[in-house]
Symmetry: C2
């Protein structure tokens, strides 16, 4: 016979309401009661009838996760964490890829709606503020990661300017004076904020900022980092350090530096961004800004849940999640 929530509550010695609150992922349950309910859930193997529950609540049971590309390790790792966080709260997660283009992002926003999803977590790269007004999908939206558009939407991210300043400050501390940046981009919110942090760190250190040391990257893939690094090494005065706006660009840069017979960090120190496991295993291992990805995933899903439950007007929140700088061989020879 199927286990009911009543059985779970009886075994845990709590009210059905308390057991229901735990199952539904509410956060205000006393830790002791939560523990007892979780043990009873595990012991009975209770599984909520999610389909019936969603129908009762007028929900679809889906949230969308909109991101540039699953093949980019940072987004693959983040998507895995959002799927797990969504599942913990009873949601299936529908993943939409935009290829980081404004057209792709507009097309996805236009296709979403309350017939399909209860909320969307989006990592926009190229959307303009007007796109959100044009294409409002009519469900709560939570933005994750960077953006530079001025829209009043819930937002979860690290402080990108501070993170970039910390990364470049570390290069200054180890004695570098010609510090380059790879990843400038006309539309990416990421790029503008990280470039600002880079400039702030150089200004604070009284270092020159020759424009040829800031290199664009059309995509944030390994090959773009490799070719931008080649351009930097071809300069009459090449840099003695480079700050890359993600780990893939840095991995590409490491490859070019090695092919030219130069040493990292002795000749050129390299810092990445995202702290992917690939960077931790590269040779040399990569110093990188390490956002707390689990905190981003959980905070975004929790914020989406709160908005759905509030079901009305609210003040958008801007939640900052923590980051660290993981220092490895590429700056600490």
């Amino acid at each position: 016979m199927a286990v009911t929530l009543r059985d779970v509550a009886r075994l845990a010695g709590v009210s059905i309401k308390t057991a229901s609150n735990v199952v539904n992922g509410y956060s205000f349950v006393k830790p002791e009661n939560r523990r007892r309910v979780e043990e009873a859930l595990a012991a009975t193997g209770y599984r909520p009838n999610i389909g019936a529950r969603n129908l009762r609540r007028g929900r679809t049971g889906f949230i969308a996760l909109v991101l540039p590309e699953l093949g980019i390790p940072y987004f693959g790792e983040l998507a895995g964490l959002v799927i797990t966080a969504g599942r913990e709260q009873g949601w299936n997660v529908l993943i939409e890829q935009t290829q980081a283009s404004r057209d792709g992002e507009r097309a996805v926003l236009a296709a979403l709606g309350p017939h399909l999803i209860d909320a969307a977590v989006i990592s926009p790269e190229a959307l303009h503020a007007s796109d959100f007004a044009d294409l409002d999908p009519g469900v709560p939206l939570v933005m994750i990661g960077e953006h530079s558009v001025d829209v009043r939407i819930d937002h979860v991210a690290i402080d990108n300017v501070l993170a970039a300043r910390t990364a470049v400050g570390h290069l200054v501390e180890i004695g570098r004076r010609r510090i380059a940046a790879i990843g400038e981009h006309p539309y990416r919110g990421t790029a503008a904020l990280r470039l600002a942090g880079y400039r702030e760190a150089l200004t604070a250190a009284g270092l020159p900022q020759p424009p040829e040391l800031v290199r664009p990257a059309l995509h944030y893939h390994r090959q773009n980092g490799a070719s931008a690094m080649a351009d930097l090494l071809d300069l009459p005065e090449p840099p003695d350090a480079v700050f890359c706006f993600n780990d893939l660009l840095a991995v590409g840069a490491l490859r070019t530096i090695a092919e030219r017979g130069l040493r990292v960090p002795q000749d050129i120190a390299v810092v990445g961004f995202d702290n992917t496991e690939e960077g931790a295993y590269s040779r040399p291992s990569l110093t990188s800004v390490a956002p707390d990805k689990l905190a981003i995933a959980r905070t975004a899903v929790d914020l989406a849940r709160r908005r759905i439950e509030a079901d009305g007007e609210f003040e958008p929140e801007d939640i900052q999640t923590p980051f660290t700088l993981a220092i490895r061989e590429s700056t600490a020879g």
Copy 2:
């Protein structure tokens, strides 16, 4: 005013039926007509009303993609391709992660059904044949990748035994005589087939197969490759080559070899499996078995579509997609 399929057909100079066949992803349209319809679709910006179409057909508009972990680069890349292939045929793709455990895979199978999805593409790692009978989700299933269970289900994969034999044969050809393998696993279909190919290649070359040269890996992550390689290097007679059952294991092995001050490929040659971009950029760059991932994604989605349309009895197919061996610095110094 909204563009209709009639407008598209008129502009392309074809019948509405032909235009409909192109939009619905059928493959039997003449190339010339297909080209004209595709141009007309682009020119008019026509978008099918997928919701209405699904309702008419009694479909949900979703297919599930069930895989171990999005954070593993091979699966992240493959998932991106399946999402694109699904979208081309009008499906949203729902991704389910199983963490490669039998419990995780059983739980996902049990949760799926025709209320949620039209079909599922699954990459099983640990399921037993009986699980498919117990938990039949009642929709077409297509298996991708390796499996060693004896079930009559549509299946798309490369020939793993031949691929492993090719990889190890390459190590024999470059003169290696003590060839190790990393990735043995009691439940993974992957492991059994690749190990069989490894043994076949050694037997064909008349080489000894000391049991200590075959190392298990509980997970196929970088750290497992690193620790298995350390065990191999601690042997009284270490190997002169190693065949790793995926690229992540190989990246971990490369790291350990470098930390011990040994050279690749001079002291130890290394071959991986999956041909991830990470391997192509590692130092040294990694020789790897290269499955045609795009062919796997497209073939699996196309097979799912055919089964849904056939809507009845059929003979399960076993479709082999091509692979190559990408030879790079880790075996060709």
